[in-house]
Symmetry: C2
Amino acid sequence: MKKILIALGGNAILKKGENGDYSSLISHIRNTYKQLLPIIKNNKIVITFGNGPQVGILAIQNELAKNKFSQMPLDVIGAESQGWLGYLLEKELINILRENKIKRDVVTILTQVLVDKKDKAFRNPTKFIGPFYNKNEINKLKGYKIKKDPRQGYRRVVASPEPLEIIECNTIKSLVNKKSIVIACGGGGIPIHKNKNNLIGIEAVIDKDLASECLASSLKFDEIIIITDIERVAINYKQKNQKFLDNLNLKDAKKYFEEGQFPEGSMGPKIKAAIHFIEKGGKQVVITSISPSGKSIKEMRKTIIRK
Amino acid sequence: MKKILIALGGNAILKKGENGDYSSLISHIRNTYKQLLPIIKNNKIVITFGNGPQVGILAIQNELAKNKFSQMPLDVIGAESQGWLGYLLEKELINILRENKIKRDVVTILTQVLVDKKDKAFRNPTKFIGPFYNKNEINKLKGYKIKKDPRQGYRRVVASPEPLEIIECNTIKSLVNKKSIVIACGGGGIPIHKNKNNLIGIEAVIDKDLASECLASSLKFDEIIIITDIERVAINYKQKNQKFLDNLNLKDAKKYFEEGQFPEGSMGPKIKAAIHFIEKGGKQVVITSISPSGKSIKEMRKTIIRK
């Protein structure tokens, strides 16, 4: 059995433009698992997931009710989103396994991820989150850093610091070793920092692929599979000389990354995660997508990154 | 080492009448752990918790934003509350253990609890939840069962069915055996039912003490400690002949329970949980409260229920 971390992007759970009602979430999750089942059933597995749409919804709900209840900070909202999606991902995986007569325990581990309060991301926060505001409204907002969103109006920005350590790593390791399928690191994990030896929540969002790499490397996993919007990594993306890559070695990955081929906020962190993972001894990173037509993962086009 | 389940009532986390801002939640949780530390450090421990105020807040937030986003059903909202409180309870327990140089892993397990769709509670739902409505508003609500709330106006009512099985029981058992401290069964667990062999979420809330008993009995635990509003169980509560009990045997517990000494929705389910636990072989159930003055659990007044 290989040890494989599967990092599910938002579109494995919710398609762009959809409103994300309960039954469509379940249906996308089931479709995702059907594609991944051949991998899941034959290997030791950790599943991580993005929470972008859900953390946005919870942040707006939280703000809409601020006259009624104390607002919770982003670390709590991230934890709520881990409950929301972790539950649906766990329940449907149990169902798919039972339908296929595969006996494996499935468990969702609430996950905290250590970051450094001095990370440079805190000096220049860039991640847009929560509701859009107009110019009058932003004067009334206290304690938020606000930037103009290129799409419309103004929005809160928060830092996206580097993940340094998965607090629940020991537990995840012991469960993986007994072949439980572990769902963890939802939304990149709940960001916390250390003051002396104390854990303190901090308002930030951690990139899910970087947190997944941090976990997979700590667990000495063999492989990471990143499920995202497009099947393969491209260089010169959306230009005339665009070229999709089936294979990518570490040296080229680093060269292209430094050339700025992979934009921040989309393919950038995935390639960065892949570089870190392989440099730390991981065997390969596969980047691919979910097939609407029910292909198995073996039939999918993909980019394989190796040393 | 004994195996002890500690069931934290809402007031271990949030005092009645407080608005529940982040720092006061943390402060109550820390105070609770200080009292419980002598028990926690010397035994195998599972911690469960109530989510009443938080699930209410999340349900109202969810409803306030219903024109913007798809509303999520109560099973998802319960899962969100497990993330919210599980995170705070886990983080502060890690901190208290570190301050006291106690090396134990702490982990929060998202917990689903099986109920029977034919449970009579679904025919006559009694648990009030979410916002208050006036008479005009209730005509526009679809799919909700509404009852007049004795306090004011109208409210949604949901069923509180019997917990039958803790889906993640195997995992919790293996973690307890390796002395991890496991936080589980938040808010009584996420209610699910079975259709053939498939798990399906269901809109309900499960009593946290009954779910705790279900878990403790399945794990063959020695003891349950229930932390609630009052230090001791009383008979003839708030009457002239009120009598607090230091000890209660199974036979008397059953007699008083059948006499209706313990009201539904407060002491009733706690005594019912105690009766079930001891009948299935548990050694004792302790009912006590959190001391505002920092007493240890040994100094507290308490009711001990034994065979």
